[in-house]
């Protein structure tokens, strides 16, 4: 069976270390079950290495190869090539994952079903008109589990669809969501340029994982548990880290502001500026508290007459 990448057939002879790796792991990869020989497996590995590289040395390349989900990678490629046996195995093992991920991610069951069906067609490699095209499974590189990859693909597809549908949201729905109370962009016109510069400098000084943590917690309002699960650590670890980073950022930002010529009081006022996101929450909370006890709303138990 000839393997091909999305760009075309891999024509070059794979390096010796890749061929040796393919021979050593041929049995464990399950390639024989789908009619792939050693050479085809080596070609497949070469494609993955080329996309993930470059590597510092051969040892690093071999470590990378050893970390691949080889059996799942072979299965995905065999499916993409239309191998019936591979599809049989894929359906047995992953069909439920695909559909159940869609049911968990999409809030409406009918949407979830449509989402999963369309993705299934893309994985199979046909479009809505039934014309053959490249299977999405060709893009699976074996870096994570095939199950995890399917979930991410479902989530990506859902967000793409959600974004396109969001433009069609009615005004009433937007009001219900409190969207009218939110400012979409920070009002930079009234912001002291020193504050903006200090904040940007402070943000740039943070490590990438600290920025991700702050964005996930404060911008996306993800819970500590969600972040901890994603990072593979305990919730308390994230809580401590977040507290440490938040406190440190506050102190350093204040110092930067004072270094830029602000007084301590000015710096404190600049840092305590009201956040529009908090305003939005307060408005929503107020609305959700229900009608006030006024003459216009009879209390429970009171006679309507």
């Amino acid at each position: 069976m000839a393997l091909s990448s999305p760009a075309g057939t891999f024509g070059e002879q794979p390096p010796a270390e890749l061929r040796e790796f393919a021979v050593a792991h041929y049995g464990a990869s399950g390639a024989a079950e789908f009619g792939l020989d050693h050479a085809a497996l080596a070609v497949l590995l070469a494609q993955v290495v080329t996309q993930a590289g470059p590597f510092d040395d051969v040892a690093a390349e071999l470590r990378f190869l050893a970390s691949l989900r080889l059996e799942e990678l072979v299965l995905a490629r065999a499916c993409a090539q239309g191998n019936e046996r591979a599809w049989e195995v894929f359906l047995n093992r992953y069909r439920n994952t695909l559909y159940e991920s869609a049911y968990k991610i999409a809030p409406v069951e009918s949407e979830a079903r449509i989402l999963a069906d369309s993705l299934y067609a893309e994985l199979y490699g046909v479009d809505a008109k039934g014309q053959q095209r490249t299977s999405k499974l060709l893009y699976y590189q074996g870096r994570g589990s095939l199950q995890g990859w399917l979930r991410v693909v479902v989530a990506q597809e859902y967000i793409n669809r959600y974004r396109s549908m969001k433009r069609e949201t009615s005004l009433d729905a937007a009001v219900e969501d409190g969207a009218q109370f939110a400012a979409s962009e920070p009002d930079s016109a009234v912001t002291d340029p020193r504050v903006e510069a200090a904040a940007s400098a402070e943000l740039a000084a943070l490590s990438s994982d600290e920025r991700f943590l702050l964005a996930a917690y404060y911008l996306d309002r993800r819970t500590l548990a969600e972040i901890a699960k994603l990072q593979g650590v305990h919730e308390s670890t994230i809580s401590r880290k977040l507290e440490r980073v938040t406190v440190a950022v506050g102190k350093r930002l204040r110092k930067r502001l004072m270094d830029s010529g602000m007084s301590g009081r000015q710096a404190d006022e600049a840092m305590e500026d009201v956040d529009v996101r908090d305003l939005r929450i307060k408005v929503r909370e107020t609305l959700e508290q229900g009608p006030p006890d006024s003459a216009f709303y009879p209390k429970k138990g009171e006679s309507q007459g």
Binding site: A112, G148, S188, E226, L230
Partner: protein, 383 residues
């Protein structure tokens, strides 16, 4: 988190330039599974910090994986022996359950409910002696009740015996000094065994001297298999009620079982799956572990199996074309079960089987049809 990020920092975070290129699904899934090299992880962190869209993707995907693991209760389609993808708990959810994404606070409610139950029951430890006049020692040696319907008083007795037992008090007051002890098993009613032991108990059960019969094992023979719904036998040892903080009798135990079941699944799901005696092979074959090897069962069936569920010696296996088999003797004998709908047999593939006890269960097909039974599969009602 009481600390608040200064507003200028929030603005700066929101102002970050959105990257033009995004990591592939492959890289994002490897990121979520902690499978990236340090340099790659840093790059993805950097991207995610500025890309709300990709953050949404990874959290959505990871949330689905989280719920799948939390709901782990069925053992599906193992690719190869020992492969991680063997844990396919998500299929254990009914269509109704998966149709709406579970709220993230749902799991927290389970913890909160478990905690509240523990507080109530621990409170009962101290309150119950004031309402029971009988000596605790007498109660502790009591076997099956003379009147089976008088379960509630016996429950209070058991609480009283726990509260008054010097051993229990010592275990609570000085947990570091707990040492392995054999579990005491009381037979309270047919099919119900009560474990009175610390969490580090020895596995050997102690015979019930009063009724002369061998008491049920604290870890039933099925504990290595995956059970759906109901109490998790394998989790009894580590559950709060087995560690001296809660009573071990009757209804209270059942309530705690139901509260803890999801938590137990979360914590013990993978471990139990690894110990499972049943699985579906990648080829869709039903297999049973016998003497460290896997033996194919129901080999004469042409259709592929999708799911196997085990509870209290009852094994249920479902697959394509509405195929459903039941064994009441742990796989020795099998009966083919027909699921009828409007006079015709169900032909959809069975993708989920959940039983809360040997009588009550639910199966779901890939077409979304759901059937429940309350008589061990004798009759099915479409939902």
């Amino acid at each position: 988190m009481n600390d608040k990020l200064p507003k200028p920092m929030l603005d700066a975070l929101a102002r970050q330039t959105k990257p033009a290129e995004h990591p592939s699904a492959d890289v994002l899934s490897a990121f979520a599974e902690q499978g990236l090299r340090a340099r790659e992880k840093e790059l993805v962190d950097q991207h995610l910090a500025g890309c709300a869209e990709c953050r949404e993707v990874v959290f959505l995907a990871n949330g689905a994986a989280e719920e799948a693991f939390a709901q782990s209760g069925e053992f599906l389609a193992a690719a190869q022996p020992g492969q991680l993808s063997a844990v396919r708990g998500s299929a254990g959810m009914s269509r109704a359950a998966v149709g709406r994404p579970r709220k993230r606070w749902a799991l927290r409610w389970v913890w909160a409910a478990s905690g509240a139950a523990a507080v109530v029951l621990v409170g009962g430890l101290f309150v119950a002696p004031h309402f029971t006049a009988r000596p605790a020692q007498e109660v502790a040696m009591k076997g099956a009740p003379a009147n089976p319907s008088s379960e509630k008083p016996q429950e209070l007795d058991a609480i009283a015996s726990m509260a008054a037992s010097p051993q229990a008090n010592t275990a609570k007051a000085r947990p570091a000094e707990r040492r392995p002890i054999a579990p005491k098993v009381e037979k309270t009613s047919p099919g119900t065994s009560v474990v009175v032991a610390s969490s580090d108990q020895a596995p050997a059960p102690q015979p019930n001297k009063e009724n002369g019969a061998a008491a049920s094992s604290a870890r039933p023979a099925e504990s290595a298999t995956i059970s759906i719904g109901g109490a998790m036998p394998g989790a009894i040892v580590s559950s709060p009620r087995a560690s001296g903080f809660a009573p071990n009798a009757g209804q209270a135990q059942q309530q705690l079982d139901s509260l803890n079941v999801t938590v137990n699944r979360t914590m013990a799901g993978y471990a139990r799956a690894q110990q499972s005696n049943w699985r579906i092979s990648p080829q869709g074959q039903l297999e049973r572990r016998i003497a460290d090897g896997w033996t194919r069962m129901l080999a004469d069936q042409p259709s592929a199996f999708h799911v196997v569920s085990v509870i209290a010696g009852n094994v249920w296996a479902g697959g394509n074309d509405g195929m459903l088999f039941h064994s009441a003797d742990n796989g020795l004998h099998w009966n083919k079960v027909a699921i009828m709908s409007a006079g015709a047999n169900e032909t959809g593939a069975i993708v989920s089987i959940r039983f809360s006890d040997p009588q009550h269960g639910e199966v779901v097909t890939d077409g979304g049809a759901s059937y429940i039974t309350s008589d061990s599969g004798g009759t099915w009602t479409k939902q």
